[in-house]
Amino acid sequence: MDTHDTQFEASVVLHKVSKHFSREYTSSSFLRRLVSGYQNYSQIKVLDEVSMRIGKGKIIGIIGDNGSGKSTLLRTIAGVYRADSGSVFTYGKVIYLSGAGYGLKDKLTVRENIYYVCGLMGFSRRFIDAKLYTIVSFCGLWDFVDVKCYQLSRGMISRLNFSIAIHCLAHQNPDIILLDEALFIGGDAFFRREALAKLSYLISCGATVFIASHNLGFIRRYCSWTFWLDKGKIKMKGKSREVICAYLARLSE
């Protein structure tokens, strides 16, 4: 959200941020490439001079086609990637939540996985002891708490992933929350409803929130402002309703 208001308190500032990736086309060996002289990679611009200035407590939507740079943008803000050029400033504690989950271990039980993932997030064992019941109850897996994860269905795994992530997020008290396809919630309709309610509560708690998603309904409902990314560039920014309408109009062309 760009503004020239001097009273404006920024939470995230991006100035002409660009990011390139090297993309390999084939898996030909070094020796084959040396002999043929064929270069099997090229540079792809994933973010192209993206600038934005977001105030504290705003809820921002990021939409765009697959490969438009949504995840890269959030990862760059989170510090997972470094920008090749331009600058990124964040003020406060940043939490990046990805729908991909945290890599639960198949050979560990549900209980052990909770200790593992929460431990990775930096929580103490005492804290996890106290939160275990809440996390397992939320995903409804008490009957499976000592079952190894490879024996669970995909829906159950998805519920567990979401429950761990959302409870870790709630207790880290972040200033900036980056949700990357975190709305891709698996499980049954009942769980999805509960999960969306929990997520809605969290994003309305005062932190600055970025939501990158294809769930346009959710973005329209919760985000005051939306950026439409196309091939790494900001194609449009403005009120969510207007940007989403323009995006949908482009799709129907």
Binding site: F30, V80, V94, K107, L108, G119, M121
Partner: protein, 260 residues
Amino acid sequence: MEDCSGLMSFVESFEQLMRTSNTIAWTGFRLRNEGSYFGVLWYLFEPLFLFFVLLSLRPVFVKEAIPYYPVYLLTGIIIFNFFSKATHYSVSLFSRNASLLKSTNIARESLVFGGVLQFLFSHFFEFLLLLVVSLLFGITPGWFFWYLLVLVAFVFFICGCCFILCVLGVYFNDLDNLWSVFMRLLWFLTPIFYIPPNNSIFLFFNFFNPLFYFITLFRASILGQFLFETFFVVLFFGLFFFFVGILFFNLFKYRIVERI
């Protein structure tokens, strides 16, 4: 006041780094032999079997009399094992944890420390084995303190090597195979199961081989002959590799996530 808050934040980050590393280490340690019938006992069986094989082949390799040869041999095996396993693990560390690194912003260093810590846990089992064997041969456990002292320098050395290797492993896929070959070479060139011969090429190689100094010092400390000069050499190797490793790692730690 500002200095104090900076220090507090450093302590908090360090505490979090250690907690994350510890989680990674314990999980890795548990999963390594998960589902096997003997479980953690494999941490004992593995070096023990190699020990018995090499002990039975002693007449082939060793013509001279070596005092406390079983202790000499076992020390060489477990120290080499620690180095070899931890470094080999670190070569493919980032590609194995790609999804984790891309979905969270955890300190990348914690993966390296966690890996080394995991093999330090298994070294503890091997150490117990060494303790039993040395007691069987009448060596009193007064060497424990010196062993720990050298172990600290050794852990620094291994961490440094792992920091370098995990970065190189992302850029060069061949490193995994190359490192296996190098480890095999190092196994034969380092005096683990034989006495160092007075061969100029051998001496020249081992002059630059940190493992040679570490193994020599571990053996000496067990026999109650702490070699202070060698200790300063291994301390130098430990700190040098650690700081070079950290510097090298910091240069690439953001770029590597893009490559995996």
